[in-house]
């Protein structure tokens, strides 16, 4: 899933200081699962900012709603009335949701409430770790199911580098060396032979380096 984290409340307060009636829009997708932008977080954020503004003598009127998904034009289009009532919209979704709102409501000022962090999952309750680098051409079958593109700090494809020690990455003792993990796993699976093959430079044109990407599936297109 996409993992996001809310911006500090003071920052959001600053971003909406010129507006007196604001729609706080949650998302039922990834940000609900990672506990940053679901129904509950949306209500809490709206309430907190309402109280802050009340104390400051500039009352804020808030509207709240949580869409099933903000990354779907149909859902985004369904809240025209609600958006129309507000001077600005604060989206608790990832960057996709913010942009879908801005595209669909060209006259409305849209503000991101979250910093979209990464594609990952939770490892224990309350901790989410990055797992996919969105490189566009998966190589996990070569690396024992551990992604060096995103989990190695240098995205090295023929690792580990000389900074790997006691299983840690040179950048931080709390960061596991991805290539140590790859080595351990391939050893367990008796596939260390994979690590003797020279991995060629990656085709980064399939990643974001090639420009904004698009997936087209003609088989599921309508009309």
């Amino acid at each position: 899933m996409i993992v996001a984290e809310n911006k500090p409340l003071a920052e959001i307060a600053e971003l909406i200081k010129d507006y007196n009636k604001v729609l706080f829009l949650g998302c039922g997708g990834c940000v609900t699962v990672c506990l940053s932008g679901g129904e509950k977080e949306t209500e809490i954020m709206a309430t907190a900012l309402r109280l802050k503004r009340k104390l400051e003598g500039q009352p804020l009127e808030t509207l709240t709603y949580t869409l099933t998904r903000q990354c779907d034009p149909e859902y985004v289009a369904s809240i025209e009335n609600l958006v129309g009532q507000a001077e600005a919209v604060v989206s608790l979704a990832c960057g996709v949701g913010v942009q879908y709102l801005a595209e669909h409501y060209p006259d409305k000022w849209v503000i991101p409430a979250a910093n979209t962090k990464h594609i990952g999952g939770s490892i224990v309750h309350g901790v989410w770790e990055e797992r996919c680098g969105l490189c566009g051409e998966c190589i996990l079958h070569k690396t024992g199911g551990i992604c060096p593109v995103i989990r190695c700090s240098k995205s090295i494809l023929n690792g580990p580098c000389g900074g790997s020690q006691d299983g840690h990455c040179e950048i931080d003792k709390n960061v596991p060396c991805a290539w140590q993990l790859i080595y351990d796993r391939l050893k367990t699976l008796n596939r260390l032979d994979l690590l003797t093959e020279l991995q060629p430079p990656k085709d980064w044109s399939k990643a974001r380096d090639g420009g904004p990407r698009k997936v087209v599936r003609e088989d599921v297109m309508i009309g």
């Binding site: 430079p201 990656k202 980064w204 044109s205 399939k206 990643a207 380096d209 090639g210 420009g211």
Partner: protein, 309 residues
Amino acid sequence: MINTESKLEKLLKQGEFVVTAEIGPPKHASAGTIRRHAEMLKDHIDASNITDCQTAVVRLSSIAAAAHIKPTGIDPIAQMTCRDRNRIAIQSDLLGAYSLGVRNVLCLSGDHQKFGNHPTAKNVYDVDSIQLVHLVRRMRDEKQFFSGEAIKEHEPRFFVGAVANPFADPFEYRVVRLEKKINAGAEFIQTQCIYDMERFERFMEMVRARGLHERAYILAGVTPLKSWRAAHYLQTQVSGMVVPDEIVERLKKAEDPKAEGINICIEQIKHLKTIPGVAGVHIMAIAWEEVVPQIVERAGLYPRPAVRE
């Protein structure tokens, strides 16, 4: 006030209409060709741009090439793109370039690697061209690395240039962005090659309305065309280029298209010289460097002025 040892800066500040040209380094490891081109151009131009892997094709490094041509007496302008280097490499290369005698740097984004001979490469763009302008100026004026750390001694003192494309969109914003570059510290500007004179005139009107020509030296870019096909290619295949049909037609009808391409270029330079706020021309004779002396002479820009002491 003269801030650097750049000859280009001195000539611009003494009010000369300057001539710069472009030398493209080769796709091999010999400096023979660029030295030959430099020898050919040295008396006819004031400074020479050395391109930095233009169109994202691997070529001999712009800084090494600049060092190779410097002994001919040409004042090199090392082009520095943001495509291939992060801020560490950029600064390291700037220090190296200065140590080799390079005194001008032109900061630009760089063509996307898709257009070059390594389309599967990663791109960097750690800093963008406007940030780069600002940071190179700060190295000189405030003696600071990009991070803000002090450069304790021998700070690189470059005359800092940037580019502008009056033919890209949105047209009205182009001059605002130019102002942003000048605010960031650009001291001279070289434009994309001009074929649509009417549009360039409108651009310069907006430049003058904002007083930008008084804050930076604007060098108008020209490129002589060898054939109508070359013109047609630029017209249809290169984004951010505007080539009027009449130029394509003129080359099509010409008995000697190359001679006609040179004629057009000379007419353009004579015209550009009359536009208020244009401080010089930048001749980008791509893979056709040998025609530059002829163009300069016939455009009435020869001999070139000397720096007054």
